[in-house]
């Protein structure tokens, strides 16, 4: 039987990989993927801790996080399409204006 602390350690590692992804990549789509990775790392912590205290609340929160992530992906990718259409780039360093 795996103790919950192992799940928490995996969650911490995945979150750190997500942070590294945002910091070292300049492609907005990969940065967006790394943010989703951080969301999923936190979801794992929610499910593991919910099991530890024997409560369904953690899973309900994960359900809501998934919903928000779906909405976020739709809006975020629409913004990326719009940026690419106007600037012809997905490099975050070249997207330095709050207008087009």
């Amino acid at each position: 039987m795996t103790p919950i602390v192992d799940y928490m350690a995996l969650s911490a590692i995945l979150f750190a990989i997500g942070v590294i992804g945002v910091l070292i990549r300049r492609n907005v789509i990969v940065m967006f993927l790394a943010i989703e990775l951080m969301l999923n790392a936190v979801n794992l912590a929610f499910v593991a801790l919910g099991r530890r205290i024997g409560s369904m609340d953690g899973q309900v929160i994960v359900f809501f996080v998934m919903t928000v992530a779906a909405a976020e992906a739709a809006v975020g990718l629409a913004i990326i399409i719009s940026m690419f259409r106007n600037r012809e780039t997905v490099n975050a360093d070249e997207l330095n204006l709050l207008r087009w």
């Binding site: 990969v30 998934m66 992906a73």
Partner: protein, 191 residues
Amino acid sequence: MPQWLFAFLAALAIIGALGAILQRNLVHCVLGFALVLIDLGVLYMGLGAVTVGFLQIIVYVGAIMVLFLFVIWLLNIQADTGVRGGASLGLKLIGALAAAALAAELFVIFSHAPKLREVRTIAPSFGSVATLARVLFTRYLIAFETTSLLLLAAIVGAVALARRLAGQSAAVAAIPPRPGMRAPESRREVA
């Protein structure tokens, strides 16, 4: 979940996550991330959260990852610079070190939480559709209904943002194509 199975799934998740942030081809990044998502879905099922595990695979891999792939193909992005390019190597090294320090800090916190090591048995109905639905439609009913509003706003917002405005295509055509990227004409057929 037996320890060896957890070790296997954890290693797979870390490999997939590293692939997702280090690959140069964007499609490979998305596929690496899809591996992490399926892997996490299996971990949820092992933790007893069967419904959430299936939802993870259906919603994340089935919908969100496909959306990412469609956008990458729609924009027709050629090979990326990968981890090279952008900020200097020193800055990236500092970023990676800071993230590693964050993980180490979390490890220290977890190692000082003895209750995380206790194993607790759960009822067989834990994590079933019925149990999840009972909590969702009683205590979290208002939050659940609010998410429908959020999804509606996201749909309208996504359509409004991605729509091509009148007279915008002329502005795009005025920008010369960058090297390593196809001419805008080939892209406009898809869009």
